[in-house]
């Protein structure tokens, strides 16, 4: 377990900024308790400093997880967000997309969101913008990247893809072994 290097921090925050923009600051500057980001087995964990200090007594090989896993660095030093980060992303989401009840299951099985399943969308969402996906009852389901801007979405066919799937809560069941 170690803090991220400056380069890693930059790559990680650039990815986060695509979803929550300026709100990254709120993750670091918390009023309740000091939190920090730690790297362990190429994974980035968001953890309170008190727990992190206790975790230092566990050896590197034995430490499986601590706090919340935000995602992992690939071998080529790109950052991949995991679904476990959803809780924090949803809290500070800049652009949101709501799917209709009919579109919930297809999305939770790992499919892209079609125009027919698109319930609501934040106004003026640009193209290729990181968005958080919610059900109509405001339950966060996952996140993705918009295929079209809000204006373009209005004129689309019901079967065209509006939002590209990146992660969904269905992964807790489907990809359990990869999330730990």
């Amino acid at each position: 377990m170690r803090p991220l290097t400056e380069e890693e921090t930059k790559i990680f925050f650039e990815k986060l900024a695509k979803y929550i923009g300026r709100n990254i600051v709120h993750l670091i500057d918390r009023p309740d308790e000091p939190y920090c980001f730690r790297l362990q087995r190429d994974r980035v964990f968001y953890v309170s400093e008190a727990i992190m200090k206790r975790a230092t007594s566990v050896s590197r090989d034995n430490l499986l997880t601590l706090g919340v896993c935000f995602g992992k660095f690939t071998k080529t030093l790109k950052f991949k967000l995991h679904i476990t980060a959803l809780e924090h992303l949803a809290q500070y989401a800049k652009y949101k997309v709501w799917v209709k009840p009919t579109g919930e299951m297809p999305f939770l099985y790992g499919n892209h969101i079609l125009k027919a399943h698109l319930g609501r969308i934040t106004e003026d969402t640009p193209e290729h913008q990181g968005v958080i996906i919610y059900s109509m009852g405001d339950v966060p389901l996952g996140f993705g990247v918009t295929a079209r801007s809000t204006q373009d979405c209005r004129k689309l066919d019901p079967t065209t893809i509006c939002v590209f799937h990146q992660a969904d809560v269905g992964e807790y069941l489907r990809d359990e072994e990869h999330l730990t």
Binding site: P3, T9, T122, E123
Partner: protein, 305 residues
């Protein structure tokens, strides 16, 4: 009628064919050039410049033509031609003379042994298809891969695939040729740099051995060492990370600096003018677009009709 007067007038009209020069003029008849090395009369040149130069040029040309008319001739239906000798003037090259290519190993060997290239025809007659084919290369006569049948040689394993064998042999030949080509280039480069190619190769191999020895988990420290073998001394800078339990405030400051940099880039590319204007007019808050709103209205409209 007296013609002498008219002849006299004609003679005066044209200048004489014979020209006299203090120093005889040099000729390069092959290139149709005459070199006049006589000194220039400066006073005359200043007095009537163009006229003077014109005269000199005429005289030179006249002398050159005299020489050409003295050359052996050849007559043909189109007319009479003079046979020009080869040119003698040396014209400077625009580009430097190309350097000799460094000799390959084979060329060196052939030179020592006195082996010379023999010119042979590129094509051979192929009996089976009754036509000429190139000896090698594309659709070459030596291309046996397309043979529909292959003989199993005497005492060869009958289960062996002769096609596979031929293919393997060909790949081996190609690889060998490539290695030799590369070796020739390396040797030529070493020679050009004024080094002995053998020494260069030796140093390179030694370096590679050392590198591979240092590529174990212990960087060669706990590997068996042969007698008189060079010890591995690989020193690489170790990666250094901050301590996991460092001062929280200092870490936060470092992270915030990175955040500032990242957000600067984000702000730069993400100023959406329409959003900004609406933000001001509607007094804050992101608005949400309901995708079904328009449709429901339309459907209602239709049902009324």
């Amino acid at each position: 009628m007296d013609v002498t007067e008219q002849l006299q007038a004609l003679k005066l009209k044209y200048k004489s064919v014979e020209v006299e020069k203090l120093i005889p003029v040099d000729f390069d008849l092959g290139n149709l050039v005459a070199y006049d090395t006589n000194s220039v009369d400066v006073e005359e040149l200043r007095k009537n410049g163009d006229r003077y130069l014109h005269d000199i040029a005429r005289e030179g040309t006249q002398l050159l033509l005299n020489q050409i008319f003295a050359l052996p001739t050849e007559s043909s239906p189109e007319g009479v031609y003079a046979k020009l000798p080869a040119g003698t003037t040396v014209v400077p090259r625009a580009k430097p003379i190309p350097k000799d290519k460094p000799l390959t190993r084979w060329e060196k060997f052939a030179k020592v042994k006195g082996i010379q290239k023999k010119k042979t025809s590129r094509k051979t007659y192929d009996e089976s298809v009754q036509e000429y084919k190139p000896k090698w290369g594309y659709q070459g006569a030596n291309n046996t891969a397309d043979d529909w049948i292959k003989e199993v040689p005497d005492r060869a394993d009958p289960m062996e695939d002769q096609y596979e064998k031929a293919r393997e042999e060909k790949t081996a030949r190609v690889t060998k040729n490539k290695t030799q080509e590369r070796r020739n280039l390396q040797e030529a480069a070493a020679t050009a740099a004024g080094q002995n190619p053998r020494d260069v190769r030796k140093a390179e191999v030694r370096k590679k051995i050392l590198e591979s020895k240092g590529a174990t988990a212990s960087m060669g420290r706990f590997d068996k060492q042969l007698k008189n073998e060079d010890a591995v001394k690989v020193k690489r800078t170790k990666r250094k990370f901050e301590s996991a339990t460092q001062d929280g405030a200092a870490e936060k400051e470092g992270v915030m600096n990175v955040v500032k940099k990242v957000l600067k880039g984000e702000d730069g590319k993400l100023i959406n003018m329409t959003t900004a204007v609406k933000h001001v007019h509607q007094k804050g808050g992101m608005k949400v677009v309901d995708m079904d709103e328009g449709k429901k209205k339309k459907q209602k409209g239709r049902s009324k009709k």
